[in-house]
Amino acid sequence: MKTYLCSFSLALTLFAASTHAADAPAAPATSEAALERLQKTLHEMESRHQQEMDALRRQIADQRAAIEKLQASTSPAPAAGAQAAAPPPAAPSRPWSPSDPIRVAGNAQGFMNISFDGLFTAAATTAPRPGDFEMGGHDPSQRGFNVQGLETVFDGAVDPWFKGQANFVSQITDGGDTTFEAEEAWLQTSSLPGNLQAKGGLFLGPFGRLNQQHAHAWDFVNQSIVNGRFLGGDGLRNPGAQFSWLAPLPWFSELTVAIQNGSGETAYSFRNRGDGDTFMGRPTLDRNLRGFGDLLYVPRWENSFDLTDEQTVVLGTSAALGPNDTGPNARTEIYGVDLTWKWKPSDSSGGFPFVKWQSEAMLRRFEAGAADPLPGVADPLPDETFRDWGAYSQVVWGFAKGWTAGLRGEYLHMEVSPLTTDATRQQRWRVSPNLTWYLSEFSKLRLQWDHDELGSMPGFDSRRADAVFLQFEFLLGAHGAHKF
């Protein structure tokens, strides 16, 4: 076969060469060059032919091996009782087509992961109403049993260019009414050029660490005081767009900017009308967006380093800048820094043991506008600027597989004003030890004790409260992995 092909190709080449030679002027120099070219062409054809034969031989060997394997596996069935019809090996990667589900996470082949998370807490407190001490949102609000949140999450790859996620939360109020709200629903790019990423929709703003975590992923039963008082009980969460860039540095350094609407109770310190249209003791205006300057901007710069093979640090700084509703030109600025450190040994079993330390500090500069004179109000409040700050620091020690012990300390400092006396402006500190038992990655039981101390201020006495919580959670379905 080989010699036949060789002689045939040689004959062809010679024929081609001869027709060529008939046209070309018969000079001795060119015919030598032509001979060289002929030889070169012949060598090339030979080597290409050789490669093709090798490839064919390899294919035959592979198929022989596959046949042998099939013959071997049809003899004794494995003790584990495998399905006889194991799925045939899929073809090596081929371009995506709409009939191929892209698996983002989860146990089953499908276009979307669906999961349901139930989070409940039984609370016993010295305060008649825990809601007076907690931040609201997902925190337990009554003595006895509370539904912290029933969360349904959908996520999946939309197409090769986007990933989508939606979170819906249902809660039961103290009065027994069911509330249902869309927590998040957004689209995120999978791979833009230039190390960029864009996100659009309704999402938690990229401020600090705790704000971007959903309640069932918290290391403590309740939200931190500073997050609740500055960013709101529901977190800083608005419709908008976000852009982030991964810097070409030797360490992980990511710059993010979110531009959101900044209105409603999920923009707590911003264009928020407040309860009864009052915020910071002042009647609020219904401010509209007059231009780009009235949007809420949330920039963040996050850096991460692996100190050693077993220790990782994440250091970030964030800001939230936008208008608030207490005056026609009133603005709010919140600045935050956060530090997270985690140690996990190289031979950890199922992720244990580990130690994780997370701290955040925030500063808020709130311009409270002058209140309009109202009928019956003798001295309307003048404009004031409050500089408040707060911090929390929490350590979680996973001491045995499935068990963690945590301790959190928090402090909130509010600028004292003899004019504005709002219950939310009471200075306070709190310490919370807890113990969590993760029966699996899908269920947990958590016992926590909170000791809360509120300082006195004009119009309010100092108060203290102790609370014990027993939290339980279950997760059904396929839920994507949480960020670090």
């Binding site: 584990a80 399905q83 892209i102 146990n107 090769p160 990423q197 991964l246 996990k344 199922g350 670090f484």
Partner: protein, 301 residues
């Protein structure tokens, strides 16, 4: 003019100097194969540590960075990494390793898996929906994976195709020669029962005729309970079990205790090169395991 041309030529040549293919492997066994097949044309980075539990790798930001700079990603593809890899890929911002590209290499697609569950329920513990993902413990399947990696690298880097195929073939020959040796060493133990902490040895058992079906975990992912361990010890004594396999990240004390009670040897067996000392490559890894297992089966230490 001449210096200008020279500068241009150097600038054009500069990218060629960085021509090493950046390959990221999720797990150290895949990384070892990729290093061996790629040689000095590739630079391999591995995400999981050889001594850590591959189900529970932290999705640290530094790993995001590695994925962002990769030309190719080699993953098991049988959901062993599903707890952490998708979270990393969401932030990786790398079009070269998206699903369906030549840079995305899921090796499980090339081989038949065992223990594919007919029904999915978490009441059975942490089960893997696509089948048992610890297939690299079977040298035959490892050879298929090596070929898949060689072909994938050849597709990504055509000038090096011949080199990759040649190195793949030499690795295959080495594994085959070793396999004959391993089969000979383990032949006397055919049909015998071995205990293990977790159900991660079914492919190894099938290849070498062993029955590794007594587990310290009552269900996958569920920690051993005293009552279950008592039963395991009883069954092991009845079946004449001589070895207990425990991986470097699993509870050594429990395995040692149980082994002592059943009169067997507890063997620290890794599934990743460098998981135990003296095992820099795939062949060395299985060499160590086969040797220690054979010794234990004979009744030695």
């Amino acid at each position: 003019m001449k210096s200008l041309i020279l500068t241009f030529a150097l600038l054009l040549a500069a990218p060629l100097a960085h021509a090493k293919l950046q390959v990221v492997a999720t797990l150290p066994d895949l990384g070892a194969l990729a290093s061996r097949i790629g040689g000095d044309r590739v630079e391999v980075t591995v995400l999981a540590k050889p001594t850590e539990d591959p189900h529970f790798v932290d999705p640290k930001p530094s790993l995001i960075l590695k994925l962002n700079r990769a030309d190719a990603l080699i993953e098991g593809g049988a959901d062993l990494e599903v707890g952490w890899l998708p979270a990393l890929l969401d932030s990786a911002r790398n079009p070269r390793i998206q699903p369906g590209t030549t840079g995305r290499i899921a090796v499980a697609s090339a081989i038949p898996l065992l223990e594919v569950p007919s029904a999915l329920s978490r009441a059975e513990g942490d089960i893997h929906a696509k089948g048992n993902p610890h297939f690299m413990m079977d040298p035959e399947r490892a050879i298929t994976v090596a070929r898949r990696i060689a072909e994938a690298l050849a597709a990504l880097d055509p000038p090096g195709a011949a080199a990759y195929r040649e190195r793949g073939a030499s690795l295959e020959a080495e594994i085959r020669a070793a396999m004959a040796r391993w089969k000979a060493v383990l032949a006397p133990s055919a049909g015998k029962h071995v205990a293990a902490y977790h159900n991660s040895w079914v492919y190894f058992a099938e290849r070498f005729g062993l029955k590794i079906d007594l587990f310290l975990e009552p269900k996958p992912g569920v920690p051993p309970s005293p009552s279950h361990l008592a039963k395991v010890i009883e069954d092991a004594k009845a079946l004449g079990v001589r070895a207990v396999l425990v991986e470097p990240f699993q509870d050594r004390k429990t395995a040692d205790f149980v082994a002592q009670r059943m009169g067997a040897t507890s063997i620290v067996a890794a599934q990743f090169p460098n998981g135990v000392p003296g095992t820099p490559g795939y062949v060395e890894l299985l060499d160590a395991l086969v040797t220690r297992l054979a010794t234990a089966m004979k009744g030695g230490g």
